[in-house]
């Protein structure tokens, strides 16, 4: 009988299934990965080194790029640190604006993972549905900062400018008729806050659509349920926080436990997982 050995496989650094550049040295037993040695440094940009030779204000824009799907949250952490060092507190309105944009960013972020994760494991429609809503939220970004993703909106002591009174309008073009444009502009007639208000009333129906696509989808469940389970003990060992540790069943959320800005005035619930998968 021939000797069966595990196969060592090189994955990446350039690979269509890797988001960005990632190299993995995998030891495979058939289709099961026994060991993985990730080479994670290919996207390292030495942020700290770059920030060393800049005035603090000039690094805010760099924070957007740390996690490029939760741009303003990164900025928030950075400006909060500066504010704490200086011992200053931003005005209450700025605090509310920042918290509001943190939550917009959170939805942006979650839509991206949900869509891309769906795409990665074979549910391509999810991606298109999620990116449809991301478009509206990126319009909110654009309305306050002029940029759709890398906003550089927060400042130590507040935000770059107040919320605008009007929303930018779509223009008809060769590809979008006046009728179509009127429909997309309908929600954009009032101020930015009216637009956000309209979005949050629309959004639950979108969530229902995602549920229809995924929650009872047999293929999706086969590929996710019971995969990569992390026990609460292991989660603590690995220093998990946020949704990761909540997935393992530990109720921990900084917004509740160590509230910053105005989170202690807001009423919200935190979902906590049970299975750790």
């Amino acid at each position: 009988m021939p000797e069966i050995r595990n196969m060592t496989l090189n994955f990446g650094p350039q690979h269509p299934a890797a988001h960005g550049v990632l190299r993995l040295i995998l030891e495979m037993d058939g289709e099961v990965i026994e060991r993985a040695d990730p080479h994670i440094g290919l996207l390292h940009r030495a942020t700290e080194k770059l920030a060393e030779s800049k005035p603090y204000n000039q690094s805010i824009g760099y924070m957007d790029r740390l996690d490029y799907v939760s741009m303003m949250c990164n900025e928030h952490a950075y400006v909060l640190a500066i504010e704490r060092l200086l011992g200053i507190a931003p005005p209450i309105r700025a605090q509310y604006i920042r918290v509001m944009y943190d939550e917009i960013t959170r939805i942006l972020n979650h839509l991206l993972w949900l869509g891309c994760h769906g795409l990665d494991i074979g549910a391509m429609t999810m991606f298109i549905y999620c990116f449809r809503e991301r478009e509206d939220l990126m319009d909110c970004y654009e309305a306050v900062s002029g940029a759709r993703m890398h906003a550089t909106y927060y400042r130590p002591g507040g935000v770059y400018r107040d919320l605008p009174d009007t929303m930018p309008q779509y223009q008809p073009s060769k590809w979008h008729s006046q009728k179509e444009v009127d429909r997309t502009n309908e929600a954009r007639q009032g101020s930015l806050l009216d637009f956000i208000d309209d979005f949050v009333t629309r959004f639950p129906t979108y969530v229902d659509e995602y549920e229809t696509l995924l929650t009872d989808n047999r293929i999706w469940k086969q590929r996710t349920v019971g995969i990569a389970v992390v026990s609460p003990e292991r989660a603590l060992q690995l220093g998990f926080s946020g949704p990761m540790i909540r997935g393992s069943g530990i109720a921990w959320d900084l917004r509740k436990k160590q509230p910053y800005e105005v989170y202690d005035h807001l009423d919200f619930d935190i979902p906590v997982g049970v299975n750790g998968d």
Binding site: I40, G41, H44, A46, E48, K49, L50, E52, S53, K54, P55, Q58, R84, L85, G87, R234, L236, Q237, L238, G239, F240, S241, I245, I250, W252, K257, Q258
Partner: protein, 231 residues
């Protein structure tokens, strides 16, 4: 919040006494400094004893204090170099200090007590070395590899102390203050050799804001015109 932090600091002092070289509260955060020799002992106690119960190591990083306290941005006179301060070679000069050059900083979190603690360990030797805490908190594994890679700090007892972020065959520790911002080598594709080659860097440090020119014919004419316009 501050009271709870003061309380934690007091209890730390009471429990570890002389083992800590310093323990203080600053901006609602507790920092404890300890000598490298006591690190593992104290970490085990901090994680294991229910009074402290720091179950999580949130961050571990190296710090290079070689230019600590040198205020590049503080100046009395207007500079005509724009914001180039802090970029030039001058920053790399080592400021003589009493404290050792390298330190390792640990950020601990206790989920149970909802408290944080910062530990700072100086590594006075050359090369700097401290004990690994991988068997106490598994998350230290990659953090220690990172601190080794970027600062050249050695962790005794680490199971797999390799570079983690820099290129294959990289030389030097990029986050040390004496490592140039633009690096030493750059990579490009050489069409003649038909492969990727490494060569000394060709880029130069850029100043972010253009130089401020105060005495210039055009600007003085403009400002005169402006003054006339206002008058």
């Amino acid at each position: 919040m501050t009271d709870r932090m003061e309380e934690l600091a007091a209890r730390l002092k009471e429990r570890f006494k002389d083992q800590l070289s310093q323990c203080f509260v600053q901006r609602d955060e507790v920092t404890a400094e300890l000598p490298a020799g006591h690190l593992r002992e104290i970490c085990k106690a901090l994680r294991g004893e229910p009074e402290f119960a720091f179950e999580e190591l949130m961050d571990l990083c190296g710090v290079d204090y070689s230019t600590y306290g040198q205020a590049d941005w503080q100046t009395e006179a207007a500079s005509n170099l724009g914001f180039s301060r802090g970029v030039g070679q001058a920053v790399y000069s080592r400021v003589p200090q009493e404290r050792p050059r390298f330190a390792v900083v640990y950020h601990l979190l206790s989920i149970q007590h909802n408290r944080r603690l910062r530990l700072r360990v100086y590594a006075p030797e050359d090369p700097p070395r401290v004990d690994s805490v991988v068997d106490i908190w598994a998350s230290a594994n990659w953090f220690e590899r990172e601190a080794f890679d970027l600062f050249g700090i050695l962790f005794d007892g680490h199971p797999d102390l390799r570079r983690i972020l820099t290129d294959y065959g990289f030389i030097g520790h990029p986050f040390r203050k004496d490592f140039p911002l633009e690096g030493n080598v750059e990579v490009r594709y050489d069409p003649e050799k038909g492969r990727v080659v490494y060569q000394p860097v060709t880029i130069e440090n850029r100043v972010l804001v253009p130089r401020v020119i105060r005495r210039d014919e055009r600007s003085s004419q403009l400002s005169e015109a402006g003054e006339k316009g206002h008058a």
